[in-house]
Amino acid sequence: MSQAEAIRSPRLLWTFGLLRSELLTTFRRWRTLALLAVLAGVPILVGIAVKIETSGGSSVGGGRDGGGGGPAFISQITNNGLFLVFTALAATLPFFLPMAIGVIAGDAIAGEANSGTLRYLLVAPAGRTRLLLTKYATVMAFCLVATLVVAVSALTVGALLFPLGDLTTISGTQISFTEGLGRALLIALIVAVSLIGVAALGLFVSTLTGSGIAAMATTVGLLITVQILDQIPQLHAIQPYFFSHYWLSFADLMRDPVYWDDLVKNLEIQALYAAVFGSAAWARFTTKDITA
């Protein structure tokens, strides 16, 4: 940013400064790094497990031939390491990724309140709305980083253990490896976007309480509850409105041509959750008495 611009928009600079300091504090925390390490470990485990199971020449899920057990795409990994990216994302998206987001988002406001640093943040002329936006931006940045950590780790393990090359879409058509990489990147972005709803929910919960642990536990608890409710057939009428209902639609990007219906629904649901819980968090945070 040039000097002139900086003078003209000191508030903007302020915001970026706030965001940068938030990002630095978040990503320097040991627990953040531990969460990312766990996420990076999942594809390594899956990759090694598949490698060991197939080393005897059998296909994945040997006994149950055609059973297709395990996470999506797992049967294709041995033929193309790139599929490990999709499998790893499908394996982490239902629980590991949103749990990590829940921890970070739940901690965002309540953690500051808990450790008594929230009032110092508000003493600075940043404004509550801007602080909240910065916190949300940080959580979303974590969504993206966490997803990319899983994807990159999976790609590395996949490249080390299995062959790479042209890949077959689930519709049976062939696409080049470059296009496959492009789709993998797109899928990682979609997965990151899929977490926006949980992030907003976690941030809202975080504004409700002064205890960081309580906020994290509530967010993760809500996540598990919704996932269970999503499995109960009798509730099919309300299931399309659960934030997790269309999560696995990212696999539709591996169809040829891409099937957009569910992907679009997923994006709409995430936008809706972000709008509802984002504004609820704003309503709560800008009006509550900060005592810690």
Partner: protein, 416 residues
């Protein structure tokens, strides 16, 4: 509010508190409003999108049937949503694993078309179809994070199950390949063809208004059995006004409620699909099951019959015409009555279904809970009901099956 403002301000501190409280509360209006707007959008958009039926020139039922017959759509692609609700107990995953298990006993490949497409018999499924002339077709069944495709390209018929990464391959002469495709009554067109086969003097066919399906203007062709006693209420077919291609097929039972079969395009295009759609090379490492041409004649026909029993039973019995087709396949099978009320009957020679008391225990109770006991001149028996097909199994081993009401079955049993 504004004119009263000055009055309020005279009451100093208390009013300020009140106003501050109100301002605080006002912020919560934002999330509530967002929810409200979203709910309104979800509720209203489908209603708005359903903006009236298109205006189309009048057409007689016969003209419309001719239009369907003449319809020669060679190139098209689209997405079909098919919902089947036979009123069978929802077995969910168990059922599909049973089905694929049954199919596998045949030749061990989960990519075998007949084992896979029986899944269409229950629930809601999304299919994609693409066609480019007689020689190139593709049908894909979209599953959760997986897909099952049948590709017909020239001489080759490929089945690919991405979940298990298995491939089924058969080289068939064009005729046979076409036959195979016809075994899969998944598109509205196939279903309509079967329904129209049964049109005779026991059927009323009318054109009732127009509809919009997948963004295209369509006529609504209504097929109704004239006789009472059939479980088929009516069949509605939406026929594309330009190409004559059936776009939506709905079968409603006479008992009312949701459609038993509802298959319609949600998206359709009549442009030539890209050639790569029909190219299929088995992916590296995939298990390929070859269906040899020599065997195909014999095994294939047997298999397609089996497929008919599993996947098409609801469809086969729906129309009187196919009842008779099926009749040829079974020895000792008679068809009583005609048209929609035809009842297939055969003698198992056995003891019928053991009644709960005879079989005893939990199993007997289970059997009893599935069927209704009936008695008549023929003796006694058990009626098994679905929303479309009812079957009466008498205690002396005779079976009566048809898309007719329970009363009609008992009447047929009394007469026979």
């Amino acid at each position: 509010m504004a004119p009263n403002e000055s009055d309020d301000s005279t009451t100093a501190g208390e009013a300020d508190d009140l106003r501050a409280g109100r301002r605080k509360a006002a912020r919560y209006v934002v999330p509530v409003a967002v929810v409200g707007v979203a709910a309104a959008t979800i509720g209203l958009v489908p209603a708005l999108a359903d903006s009236g039926d298109p205006d189309l020139p009048k057409i007689s039922a016969q003209q419309l049937i001719d239009k369907i017959a003449k319809s020669d759509v060679q190139q098209m692609s689209g997405t079909v949503k098919i919902t089947t609700d036979l009123g069978l107990p929802n077995l969910g995953g168990l059922e599909s694993s049973l089905m694929s298990g049954a199919g596998k006993s045949g030749d061990g490949s989960s990519a075998d078309p007949t084992s896979k497409l029986t899944e269409l018999a229950t629930g809601t499924h999304t299919l994609r179809v693409a066609a480019d002339g007689q020689d190139r077709q593709k049908l894909s069944l979209l599953e959760n994070a997986a897909e099952y495709s049948i590709v017909h390209n020239g001489k080759d018929v490929w089945g690919y199950d991405s979940q298990s990464n298995e491939v089924y391959h058969s080289t068939a002469p064009d005729g046979a390949a076409k036959q195979q495709k016809e075994d899969v009554p998944a598109t509205p067109k196939d279903l309509t063809k079967d329904a129209l086969k049964s049109v005779d003097d026991t059927t009323s066919v009318t054109v009732e208004g127009t509809a919009q399906v997948a963004g295209r203007d369509a006529y609504r062709l209504v097929i109704k059995p004239k006789q009472s006693g059939s479980t088929v209420g009516q069949i509605t077919v939406a026929v594309d006004s330009k190409t004559g291609l059936p776009l939506k097929f709905t079968l409603t039972p006479s008992s009312g409620g949701a459609a038993v079969i509802d298959a319609g395009f949600t998206q359709v295009s009549f442009a030539r699909p890209s050639a790569s759609t029909f190219n299929f090379t088995p992916p590296k490492g995939a298990k390929v099951t070859e269906d040899k041409q020599a065997e195909h004649g014999l095994k294939g026909s047997e298999k397609s019959w089996k497929g008919e029993q599993g996947g098409k039973s609801e469809k086969g019995d729906k129309t009187g015409g196919s009842d008779e087709n099926a009749a040829k396949g079974l020895d000792g099978l008679n068809v009583i009555g005609k048209g929609w009320n035809s009842i297939a009957t055969f003698d198992t020679g056995g003891q019928g279904v053991p009644s709960g008391s005879k079989a005893g225990g939990d199993f007997g109770g289970f059997l009893d809970s599935l069927g209704d006991k009936v008695t008549g001149k023929f003796g006694s028996g058990t009626v098994f009901k679905t929303r479309l097909i009812n079957a009466l199994i008498t205690d002396n081993g005779k079976v009566y099956v048809g898309a007719v009401s329970k009363g009609a079955l008992v009447k047929a049993a009394n007469a026979g």
